[in-house]
Subunit: 189 residues, 2 copies
């Protein structure tokens, strides 16, 4: 077969996601348009709208692609829970500190506040896998038997997210380490 | 003096804030307009723009007025830190659970993500007094001497905020109690 439709589709999909991330880096989220993405990717606008509801959904897919290929979403288990959590929390701080990634996440957050369906997609496809990876590392312990793992995960990410979104103070490695230290005191035997 | 300008100003200011909250309740944030607020308050649009930059700033002032008159922003100190924190965290859950208040906070959050100046005002005038009130109660203890109070406060509010904004799970009294229990384990001697 010289013109496999599935392969052609996958090539268009990749071209669209790549174009979206390139343009995002060049123009920022608010100036990003479907027209520009279509033109850069060499496809028609209708091709994009066949697969995505809007630019929020495209960027979400691009971010999912980027994060799931960059790391297998399995946390290291060195046997030292506090050290392993420090590693993942510092990585989160680094993501928030990256101006481009931070602007994109902020823009996506705005869209999710207006769009419940997109909010569910972000939660289930982007956020949940990251939270679950940390949950799995927590499960390996050592932690107290009565600790609710979902609460423990949000005890780690909640303060970072709060500080990032509400700019209540500097979001640094020291802050991440401090949150981990408190969480460790809360959940270990 | 029969026409004290300061008193007339204060009367207009009150009328505008009241009109804004009334209309917010009737139409929701996204349909709220400066025109409608001016008309309901019986003032000209230019009067509003003399004092506020936009509807986000008006709603912020109205919320500050409402919260600072409703409670003196001093937490109860019953001598039982865990019980006192449970009271304030459950009150926060109740605020998030109120559909109107939740929609307003969500809308204001969106505006702050687009408007750094408004973000600073929300943080310093609305958020900071609430966080400081909890900080003061924590200071009364009993807590460990090495605990960073700013971190401790965000260990409490961060998980609630995370769950509210990202809808990662049910935001209930039980969740609030669980967060408090973990935080108490983290910060008490």
């Amino acid at each position: 077969m010289t013109a496999d439709p599935a392969r052609r589709s996958e090539r268009s999909r990749r071209a669209i996601l790549d174009a979206a991330l390139e343009l995002l880096a060049e123009t920022g989220y608010s100036d990003l348009t479907i027209e520009a993405i279509a033109s850069r990717a060499g496809v028609g606008k209708q091709t994009i709208y066949r697969w995505w509801r809007g630019k929020g959904a495209i960027i979400l897919d691009a971010l999912i692609d980027a994060t799931s290929s960059a790391e297998a979403l399995v946390l290291p288990d060195t046997g030292d829970l506090e050290a392993d959590l420090r590693t993942v929390m510092r990585a989160t701080v680094a993501e928030f500190a990256d101006p481009k990634l931070s602007a994109t996440t902020r823009a996506l957050t705005i869209e999710t506040l207006n769009d419940e369906k997109l909010a569910e997609q972000v939660r289930d496809q982007l956020l949940r896998p990251q939270l679950d990876a940390v949950k799995k590392r927590l499960q390996a312990g050592p932690i107290r038997a009565d600790v609710d793992l979902d609460q423990a995960v949000e005890l780690l990410f909640g303060p970072l997210y709060h500080r990032w979104l509400l700019r209540t103070g500097p979001l640094t490695d020291e802050y991440a380490d401090g949150v981990v230290q408190l969480a460790i005191a809360a959940i270990t035997p």
